[in-house]
């Protein structure tokens, strides 16, 4: 333990969970979750466990509450019933102060990027850093902002641009840079490839996979993009009938006889996506040779 005069100030009033590290098997454990808006029940008795280090794709028809599920986990939506544990800590009942410990350990990319419009991209990345680690020197904060921006595949010059000067794909990358600002263990992505062109979407998929592998992230990824599912997700969770109907790898899901899953994965778009994913790995989809 350090006995520095200036260090003590921070150490005294800071939750020791800030920047902690989770070694358990399931960073997210949801049990018996119930969400409703008025009479409309979105989730009923929903349970889900996310494994450490995996990219979990979450799919479901429109209105099945994929985003609501994500909002529940990150504490933006208070569920009616059930427990949600993130890094082994209860999120639902936790007082806000205790939540901050957890907040420094996850990053969230919202659908539209949700960048702060009055700040430049680099300043956006620095917001969470300044919030949690005011003791860092300005030089280091600037350097962090720069390399995060570059790591997410943006041109270095984009750091000084305002969100209104960026294209949709660039906004997503900037949002990702902000989500990764604190080197989180857990990353939430809400439809990261929606609205991107196929090349941009494929690049973003690769980037996600690469970052997840390099940084050892656990990724909770909501998507409609079948290519994303086939190419980068370790497992897929299917939301239907107000709960997680099935979780597993795509071959496992294909064996399910749930009508929605069958329709989803056996539709023409899905078959095309699977074919191209397998081609990329040099496997023949009919014979399975070359796997």
């Amino acid at each position: 333990m350090n006995e520095r005069a200036d260090g003590a100030i921070f150490a005294e009033d800071t939750d020791d969970e800030i920047g902690g590290h989770y070694d358990g098997q399931y960073p997210i454990v949801i049990e018996g979750l119930k969400n409703a808006f008025g009479d409309q029940v979105i989730h009923d008795n929903l349970s889900l466990k996310v494994r450490r280090g995996e990219i979990l794709g979450v799919v479901g028809g429109s209105g099945t509450g994929k985003s609501v599920l994500m909002r529940s986990i990150i504490g933006l939506q208070r569920p009616l019933e059930g427990t949600i544990e993130v890094f082994g800590k209860d999120i639902v009942g936790a007082p806000p102060e205790e939540e901050t410990g957890v907040r420094s350990r996850w990053g969230v990319l919202f659908q539209g990027g949700a960048l702060f419009s009055t700040l430049t991209v680099a300043e956006n990345v620095q917001v969470p850093i300044k919030q949690f680690y005011p003791e860092l020197t300005p030089e280091l904060k600037d350097e962090i902002a720069r390399f995060k921006v570059t790591m997410t595949g943006l041109a270095p010059e984009a750091a000084s641009k305002y969100p209104s000067e960026l294209s949709g794909g660039m906004k997503k990358r900037a949002g990702l840079a902000r989500a990764l600002a604190l080197d989180p263990e857990l990353l939430f992505l809400d439809e990261p490839t929606a609205g991107l062109d196929p090349i941009g979407a494929a690049n973003f998929d690769n980037l996600t996979r690469e970052l997840a592998d390099t940084l050892g992230l656990t990724v909770f990824l909501i998507t409609h993009d079948l290519d994303t599912l086939y190419t980068i997700c370790d497992r897929v969770a299917v939301l239907a009938d107000k709960k997680v109907t099935a979780v597993g790898t795509i071959p496992e899901l294909l064996e399910s006889d749930h009508p929605w899953i069958q329709e989803y994965f056996n539709g023409p778009r899905s078959r095309a996506a699977m074919q191209s994913a397998l081609n990329a790995r040099g496997v023949d989809s009919d014979t399975g040779l070359g796997a």
Binding site: R4, A11, E123
Partner: protein, 368 residues
Amino acid sequence: MREWAEARVEDAGGRSTVILSGPMVISSIGHLDKELRAMTAPVQQIDLSGIGSIDTVGAWTVWRFASQHDAQITGATPEAERLIEAVRNAESTADITPPRSSIFIRVFEDVGHKVIEQWHGTVRVISFLGAIVISFFNSVVHRRFRMRALVRQMELVGVASLGIIGLMSFLIGIVIAQQGAVQLEQFGAESLTVNLVGRLTLRELGVLMTAIMVAGRSGSAFAAQLGTMKLTEEIDAMRTIGVSPMEALVLPRILAAVIMMPLLGFYASIVAIIGGATLSELALGIPFFTFLARVQEVVPMYDLYVGMIKAPVFGLIVALAGCYQGMQVQGNAEEVGLKTTQAVVQAIFMVIVLDAVFAVLFTKMGWA
């Protein structure tokens, strides 16, 4: 207590080695980073074998230090090596804020921009007014009048504000009567309170206060609504479908304000007179209906005309400022707030300036 990352320097055979220990993560690196930055003596080697966990910020700090001293990194775990490799490839020296010129240049630049902007702004307001007039005639000629939108706006501008304007005017009537009576009493002219309340509210305050209230309620709403619609590209969508935003959005709002302002101004004046009458009944001993009858005798008809001529002009100014500023929004959410504020400030300012102009004008006309 948090555990901090630490550094120790060891010299062996003319080679100095920096030995790092503790968790090299963003939450614990603050002090180490300062220490390393302050270190100027040459370093040949960095030993990472004693560190705990490491993240990109830790990797960056190590790599930056290593490249600054041209030092060798030893004892790195595969994870640390991977992260150092990743941040090395992501190094950049780009600016993180847009470049700023020196203060002397900026001052002149800003002043120049303001002057030019003022001129452009004037031109734009005039062309906006022209566009409104054109679209008004267009919609009359083509009989494309948006009656529903107009009625809806009239409801929002007029009917919905009856309560607040009524209350405000009633209180103003009371205050004028009460304050006036105190002063006039000194001359034994208490009965002139009636003249004061009647003429002042019909001529000036009824319309003026209403205009200010409408600027605050509706002018700001116009600016915020149109501004948000511009941000969400609704207005662009309208244009592509062939619907003129001028006709569909701006015209109904302007007309609603122009039509409702005289009605609201008249209503406000009447309520203020009732307020004055109520007070004089309760505090001055002039009976309520006597007060009203006296108003009829002492207030010349042209006082009403003065108010009613000013009202639609004020309505036009308020709605014009609101719609114009709303349509000027571009870029981000902050703009909406900014333009909304500007709409209200400009509207109130212009209303008061025009009120002064009208005062001189009507006096010259003999409607004193």
